[in-house]
């Protein structure tokens, strides 16, 4: 079994998702099912294969290092769950 309930709790912590205690067993089983299924990739000979991160063949384009956008503070704050005086309001993070 690749992952244990403790692994799932650790992954959920890394992913910042509060998984309730009664979901851990089911998630462990689901994740193991998927991970076992993807293990068939071990059959493939990948010696010398360059990892492929994108189907784009050309190099990423470059542009002038210049400001092309900005000055839209109010538009950005429109969808904030909480905003005051031009700032996002977030829960206290430093004691």
């Amino acid at each position: 079994m690749p992952v244990t309930p403790d692994d799932v709790r650790r992954i959920a912590k890394l992913a910042r998702i509060a998984e309730p205690a009664d979901r851990i067993a089911a998630l462990t089983a689901e994740l193991n099912g998927i991970l076992k299924w993807v293990e068939q990739l071990d059959e493939v000979d990948v010696a010398g294969a360059e990892p492929m991160t994108t189907p784009v063949l050309s190099a990423l384009p470059l542009r002038e290092d210049a400001v092309t956008d900005g000055g839209v503070r109010d538009a950005i704050l429109t969808n904030a769950p909480k905003a005051e005086e031009g700032f996002f309001v977030v829960p206290k993070s430093v004691e």
Binding site: A15, I17, L31, G33, I34, T53, P55, N79, S93
Partner: protein
């Protein structure tokens, strides 16, 4: 009076230009049809009659002056993954409930610039993660198609299921979708429509809610190959705001749909003959090859030995990219927030409440395969397998001009029928479509026949990168031979 629901996109464009009806009449009929269908089909997240009429009036004014773009005055439904300025855009997720973007996606802007009329956003699997539209925060979308003699509710497929359902119901004349593993082509096959996933980079991803950036492809649904080709043409084009956007010119795709297929070499990959595939699909596939042969194409048996590894590679790469992309939903700057005692608890509670189960599952898988100690064994390995799949296609396209396969291993299935099953059973829906996302090459599904229950089945055409023209030519030839004109009987 014109039966607006039966018009194709080209018929709507031509009817407007010939002043047979006005854009306002067309918009009014579309909005009324959308409102009437929303209860039974649940295919929309937003219906905006006011904006539709405003845009239609502007189109009528342009048409009266003898002006107007390629889609002037024609309503097009927009998948809820595309940002439309000032209109709620949620990716069918509770975490984006109430989010109204202050910007417009490049693809939708291209549509409006060509004169298309906005009237609705369509429901989808949450964050495009699903193959049945059952993971939408607004509940399952219902396929207008039903099996003969049955009133069981079928899925329109997913993730772009709302777009497919709306278009199949005759409510729109085109629709946008996105395809990360088959999310345009599978719903198109389930709803008797044409669905196009262009080459990666043809359609800008700017303003499209990200799922798996290296696999996400915006594309259209059409009632006909030519409609879908024109929509692809309008939606495509270089966009400096997407660094992966292709810089070359956009060819005349609509014209390509009429090109003869004489002399083209069409590959039939033996690996697409999978266990458990319906006999009717295999028969239809053979028939499709005969149709192309009868029009002068040469049928060539080919092998794509890496095919079976595409789906497992996808279920590492896509969740990995998703876990990174979806990290932005932290409840601080936009979207829903659930307050916790401190910052970390706020993140955790917000994401637990805002994301549905399938999305959480994929984020966890993605987080795991990218985590220290597992990155090489899973993620890096999958990227190397991706290269092998890409090489499969590269060698195949040395021998053939296009590849013909089934679009899906089955017809539309009942809503809820896979709810208790292993998640992998749902993932297998994408077995024929996902390879083209892995390789970034163009692929589309074309309705080709009905199964014994009267449900549509599709064939898939795959072409080399940037050769959508050959793909549309082959699809056009299949469409002409199939003579597929079936539409669902109206019950909604």
């Amino acid at each position: 009076m014109t039966d607006f629901s039966s018009l194709s996109l080209h018929e709507a464009v031509n009817g407007l230009r010939a002043k047979k009806f006005s854009a306002v009449e067309l918009a009014e009929a579309t909005v009324a049809a959308a409102e009437a269908a929303q209860g039974p089909l649940n295919c929309f997240t937003v219906i905006d009659g006011e904006r539709a009429l405003d845009m239609a009036r502007a189109s009528d004014a342009r048409l009266a002056r003898g002006e107007g773009g390629a889609l002037e005055g024609v309503p097009v439904a927009i998948k809820d993954l595309f940002a439309v300025k000032g209109v709620e855009t949620t990716a069918s997720s509770n975490i984006l409930k109430g989010f109204k973007p202050e910007y417009e996606s490049t693809v939708t802007q291209n549509l409006w610039d060509a004169g298309a009329v906005f009237f609705a956003k369509t429901a989808m699997d949450e964050f495009a993660m699903g193959s049945s539209n059952e993971t939408a925060a607004t509940g399952p979308v219902v396929n207008p198609w039903r099996a003969t003699g049955s009133d069981a509710k079928l899925t329109p497929g997913g993730s772009s299921g709302g777009s497919a359902a709306a278009l199949a119901a005759g409510i729109s004349y085109g629709a946008t979708g996105t395809d990360t593993g088959g999310s345009i082509r599978q719903p198109a096959a389930f709803a008797g429509l044409v669905g196009v996933k262009p080459t990666y980079g043809r359609c800008s991803r700017w303003g499209v809610v990200a799922f798996a950036s290296s696999l996400d492809h915006p594309g259209p649904f059409g009632k006909t190959v030519k409609d879908a080709a024109l929509l692809t043409q309008v939606m495509s084009g270089h966009d400096p705001k997407d660094s992966t956007s292709y810089q070359g010119e956009v060819p005349d795709f609509a014209a390509a749909a009429d090109r003869p297929v004489k002399g083209l070499r069409i590959g039939i990959p033996k690996e697409y003959r999978v266990d458990g595939m319906l006999g009717e699909i295999e028969t239809l596939w053979r028939e499709g090859a005969k149709w192309l042969e009868a029009q002068g194409a040469e049928i060539v048996d080919i092998s794509l030995p890496m095919t079976k590894y595409a789906l497992p590679a996808y279920y590492i790469i896509a969740p990995a990219e998703a876990s990174s992309n979806l990290a932005r939903y932290d409840g601080l700057r936009f979207g829903a927030r659930v307050e916790g005692g401190d910052l970390t608890e706020t993140y955790e509670k917000t994401r637990a409440a805002g994301f549905g189960r399938e999305v959480q599952r994929r984020i966890l898988i993605g987080t795991y395969v990218l985590s220290a100690g597992y990155y090489d064994a899973y993620y890096l390995k999958a990227l190397k397998v991706r290269r092998r799949i890409y090489e499969d296609f590269t060698s195949a396209f040395e021998k053939v001009d296009a590849i013909l396969t089934p679009a899906t291993p089955s017809a539309a299935f009942e809503i809820g029928s896979k709810a208790k099953a292993d998640p992998i059973e749902m993932y297998l829906n994408d077995i024929f479509t996902v390879t083209a996302n892995i390789a970034g090459i163009p692929a589309m599904s074309v309705p080709a026949g009905l199964d014994k229950s009267g449900l549509p089945l599709g064939l898939q055409v795959i072409a080399p990168a940037l050769d959508e023209e050959t793909m549309f030519a082959v699809a056009g030839a299949l469409e002409r031979a199939a003579g597929f004109t079936a539409r669902p009987e109206k019950w909604w």
